[in-house]
Symmetry: D4
């Protein structure tokens, strides 16, 4: 129930076509966002061109297919499925066209996304083993309408690889820095660029990396300004936030 619907209801009350008591019930029962807080609905709702997201982990192939179909029926043109197993992808592909990326375990249903924001998002990783998380971020950002440039394996232990790509970093509107182990990439990048840096710790590593905790702490303690952190391995969250920030800079 949006503003116009409430207004119409009130007019019905005025016209006598709706009893006050009946209107009260409708107002009370209608979902909260119907009272005019349309933004809530916007956030996860189905709008033209904004993809719907399904978190695939812990869902059966059948459940995923069911949700995809229900979304399509409700008009979703673009659906992003994260943490989707290869088995689930195969199962869904039997019924619906799905573009599946096995390394980041991402499935994309629907038309190809055009770029809708002016700026560029750079996704940088410390090592090649951070690739899966980085691609989750990169694909998410692309599906959400962003131009993405990848700078993989530019960890700080071989600084020249990073410095050789300074121009790329400098042109970014947002940088997503993905790194496990010591997680120093975020700080170094944060000191080099003048734009927001979204740090994604990864669970890559062994021993005292403690499944990403070392990288997480390192990133939270970054001395560089403009760095903020998302959950360990949360490539999707970083890509989503980067897109949000990039779109503030204006549409194409």
């Amino acid at each position: 129930m949006d503003k116009h619907q409430i207004l119409e209801l009130l007019h019905q009350v005025k016209d006598g076509t709706a009893a006050p008591e009946e209107a009260l019930l409708k107002l009370k029962l209608s979902p909260f966002e119907d009272l005019g807080y349309a933004k809530i609905d916007h956030h996860r709702g189905i709008r033209q061109g904004v993809p719907e997201v399904i978190y695939g982990q812990g869902k059966t192939p059948e459940q995923i297919l069911g949700i995809v179909k229900a979304m399509s029926d409700r008009g979703a043109e673009n659906i992003l499925i994260t943490r989707m197993s290869g088995d689930a992808a195969e199962f869904v592909q039997e019924s619906i066209a799905l573009d599946y990326h096995p390394i980041p375990k991402i499935g994309i249903v629907g038309r190809c996304k055009e770029v809708t924001a002016q700026g560029k998002i750079v996704v940088a990783t410390g090592g090649t083993s951070d690739l899966a998380v980085a691609e989750e971020a990169a694909l998410t950002a692309e599906v959400l309408g962003n131009e993405v440039e990848r700078l993989y394996d530019v960890g700080v232990a071989g600084l020249h690889r990073l410095l050789a790509n300074l121009d790329v970093l400098m042109q970014a509107k947002v940088v997503i820095a993905v790194a496990g182990m010591e997680g120093a990439l975020a700080s170094v990048v944060g000191g080099l660029v003048d734009c927001p840096v979204i740090a994604v710790p990864t669970s890559i590593g062994y021993g005292a990396s403690f499944g990403g905790v070392s990288a997480l702490l390192s990133m939270l303690n970054s001395c560089a300004s403009g760095v903020s952190v998302v959950n360990i391995d949360n490539g999707f969250g970083a890509g989503y936030l980067a897109s949000m920030i990039n779109h503030i800079g204006g549409a194409v």
Copy 2:
């Protein structure tokens, strides 16, 4: 040494006014940022209207005054001093005009900052005890040229206080969510708005709040998209990042 200087040096080599060996030496010795990566210098340098920042903790009043004077001599018009003790403020005020805020322990030297970005930053807190961190964020953002609106004591245990201010939240370009204890504010706000939410855990609390760890973990695990996290009590970092994002949205 910037692009033009390198070009000039190369012309001198061509003209024979500089020997190739001499040029090699100059190229090698010149600081890295002189090779044209001016952004590095920009980042912490003194530019017109961008404040210089001093981290006051662990510095003596004399040291702070010394740095402030040196910065002023080099042309800084606007200096922000964070984590500055009352004693240090009094000491500096004897020599230089300083606007001191005792709760967030922030000192500001120089002319009042005009607003330079179009959007608005909302700083929300879970409780009144998060005030000091929130003010560090808010003042930082203001000094950096942003319009800031404060929404204090809107914690999730009294949800109506937050919901009653939904309009304020909805108009924000960036929200800074400051909370200790269970830190749930970031998630709830993140689910209500459509803009980036910067979560700041605070060390406020007792027992199993573990000096902010509980709030930090809670914020990192936020199920709402668009939420990222800075270090515990890092109001300055949140304010700085919020300003960065807000200025992407265009100047006034």
Copy 3:
């Protein structure tokens, strides 16, 4: 040995049908609860209509069946088996009628439970992946004679879903709030209702959720009054406690 038995023994001593020394030995050897602390026995004992509980984890199918049979022989009409594998369920079902719920891994032996308490228990979850733990709580409460209403997937990142169900929450005598990740549901619900809220952190999540630790800390730090916490994934404990509280409110 209960009060009456002790009294009888003492009368036998008086009558001379039992020697004092013999009575002394009986008193000393009888189990502690026989001295009149009948409540101890009540707690886990077999009474009319109160189900016996078996913790299935780590027990072989044969062991579970053996215990079930022994309980039945001792008169148990209603047996709840938690954390029971599908294999164990199949094995037991070959010998005894067992109602098995595969998601919460709960098996129920015996007659259907009628409702014995007046109030209603609401079980709410933050996400669909908390379902297994929530169902363990809900089924436990139902078997113990409570009316249970389920409110699943009402996490705080989509606040309208929770608010749309305020009426349900308001009518609860006890709420069980089941959530992983940031665990904020308990605080938000605790701020909305006026009854006890039992918070159950779940191990659902990844990265910095640390197997439920993040949710656990968040719930322990809840700023809302009336919230208490049980162990991670302890749906049974929550359901049992909720039933205990609900029955204080009076029988049907």
Copy 4:
């Protein structure tokens, strides 16, 4: 705005004394709790005989006095101030009659509370050093209208002290078990009684007690059914919850 006010507004729209647009605005701007969710207001509101609570920690004596006065002006007859320093108590006592308890650091303003619930709350502690937290729980429960019986220093290392008081425990409607160090009291009590046990870990101890973490974990892992846990040292929370449960059992 409650149900009646909304209904009245709708009648005004029907009568033509209020324009639909005007009514829409009122509906949108009215605080959330005005939409009929009166329970929210009840929760922290001022009602006849229910005390208002002030969390004293981190507030200046002047601030506490100010809040107390404001509450009194709004009709509060009974105000509970937790974590109140002796200095603050002295300061407030100069202006207002305040009953101050130095060990649990609790101040009580207003008329003596009569008992409003039928059942009895037992507060048990493992040692004498848990007294402060226990008294915070006990006084909170008393101010909220409960009969409270104290069982202090009945720790499990001297089991006979606890067993000698079984009758007291057996008569409780709710037990609050307060213990530091190994925190075993909650489990032992939980195994003896048939009512809800609220476990409060305390920060009392040294070494591997880690400020209450050991007791907290011990209590969360309790094998006894009916036990739930609140934050370390959170006597107030336990007293509040115990009162909530005790009042379910019916008024005096």
Copy 5:
């Protein structure tokens, strides 16, 4: 109520001088230890020559004096007060003869203890800074009637100091190994001797010693057989246990 008292009561019932109902009440109300479990009473009771122990931390000088006097009145000849501040000691010494040891903060009231066990207890420390904890252990053991030999500053980083004292270690009935930092002393000693080794981690150290956690973990992981561990800084506990074991070996 001991065995004889119960028997007497039963004879009274038989004689008719006590009614069965009256006897029932007496049996139920008598403290648990009265039922014949005299060992419980022994454990902390006052017997000839066994010292009473007061944990001084958190008690006021007045409280300590009060307890000491009450114990003396009940016949205690030997009282050990642990974690007693110098102020408390001075206060008590004004009223009662007290032997105070400032480094381990131990006060001893009463006659000098003669040795009652045959074996010898060796207390070894890794460094000189572990002295306070070691002395708490050593004095406790001495007051409890043991011959104690001190081997201080024999840490494993200077192995020759330890090896030069092998003869002393070899003659021990029990060894108490007190060490902070890496806590390796317990393992090395455990590998050298053939008797029980009680390991006491101390909170001495800095950085990654984490207040004794490093030493605690090291000691728990000891590869040497015969090593067990008490709480960080728990010199009293180690001394008490060592005395218990030493007395198993027979009296002087």
Copy 6:
């Protein structure tokens, strides 16, 4: 090289049958224990009737068999193999008579052990799931020549089960308390008995039991005197230490 061998060597030097330089070399090269520190050798050496111990985890069946054979060749009559897989047991049994216990994963080679110590060791567990660790302790103690009595499933949540067996506990020379989850058994037993209690935390449990950490902390914080702790799941270590203490009490 033992005392006698050194003496003989010195006599050879005196007799001129050994050159001083040659003797020097022998003294220097001979293992440390040969210098007379025979206890070291005693500790792990092969003596009449003391079993040799093999830690089976991480060793192949072939390796275990090889070590067993080598030990037998060197005269070992009694060999205890801990953490031995069923496969390894089957493999060894093909060559050598081996008594295998599948639950504690213990294999015993050699003649049956007679009891060599006077006292009795009681092994108590909190639940049935602690059985494997408890049996590792009990069998170890039995092989080492102790009479062992088992008290399983006497956890504190059902206190009457423990109290009903007080007589058994009272007769113990040493008690081994094995418990997971809240680990309260050690404290309760420690408060009831007057002999050393060796606490063994187990990794049994889920959620906040953190693989035995909760029980470990609980046991370290025990308020009962005479309690010490070994590593999580270290049944062997507890059995070995218990035997050591029990043998102090004198041989049969």
Copy 7:
């Protein structure tokens, strides 16, 4: 681009065969290390006789083979592959001669390495189960041109085994101390020798060893001078650093 190439470029500018603008572009685009910081290139580059290293974990057999081939094509004569599965080894061996060590999971491609440093590296372990990590260190050091002596199973619980090998330790230029559980080996060795000790905690152990954390903390807290620590199980890092230090001592 090395020094000579830059100089040549500058000469080309001087000669007019390269335009200044063109040279500027080349300088800017050339990787950072081309500006003369040849050491960077040295670090991971391909030089005569220094092996290339591949971290095998997380790479498919095909990827490993591909990298090996590419390195060989670029002239690498000696390639070390760490954490290589047996399957990967078999796959690579079908195409290229590979020396595979299954316990430390190391593969070596290329000619046998001669010793290039004067000193000797001693690799010591606490137990036999630390072998895999120790061999990773030893083989790495050998491939890098060092003489390595192995001292396995010399843990501190059997000190005589270590002391019997003091001569070996004394002759080392660097010692690598590999130990799990209590990790005391590093401290004891550090106290015995006068050379750098590189401590490698291993994840071997159970219970409170916490996957190597206990050993790690123990080693960081070593009271012996000259001890430093690498990551848990990081045999390669220790071997590499030991070789670095050993080569400081001069070439053969």
Copy 8:
């Protein structure tokens, strides 16, 4: 008793001037290091030109002075006192000439140290607040006879500061990298240089720096080869180890 003394003793036995039994006793009683393991004695002994070290923390001014005097009496020419308070320094200076450095809290007694090693040690810090720890390292290394170059405030968030000093880093024989917060300096430096890097985490920072834990983990996880780590704030240990390595490179 060194080699020569043992040989002399054996000759006395041969000559008949010493009885074999007497010699046996001497051999057994002489301290371990007397058997020829002179290196042990060397390690902490007083040799020409090697300073004696006193750990000042926890020692009274009187104790420190006493130890200094005793050392001087035994011939120590050079004494380093770490973690020495200003008060202790003043007290000692009244009796003995002491060079006191207040920031790293280091006192030096005795003649100025000449440089004895060829190489240079570089001490680099991430920020100015790491100065105290860095100076502890630098002064230790200088007192031990090394040339030290300081590179302070070259943290990775301002990479150009570090890169501008690459030449200094390149010339080091050993680098000590001192950093708090994210601790990334060690990795970046480790990737730039070809010599051992000793990483020292500092407790500088706030929030999620957890007193140096974040920097510690970051450094342990360094992807750069040649990096090892010492305890948090252990500047002395790093300086000592650096000197050890530097002296391997040869004397001046």
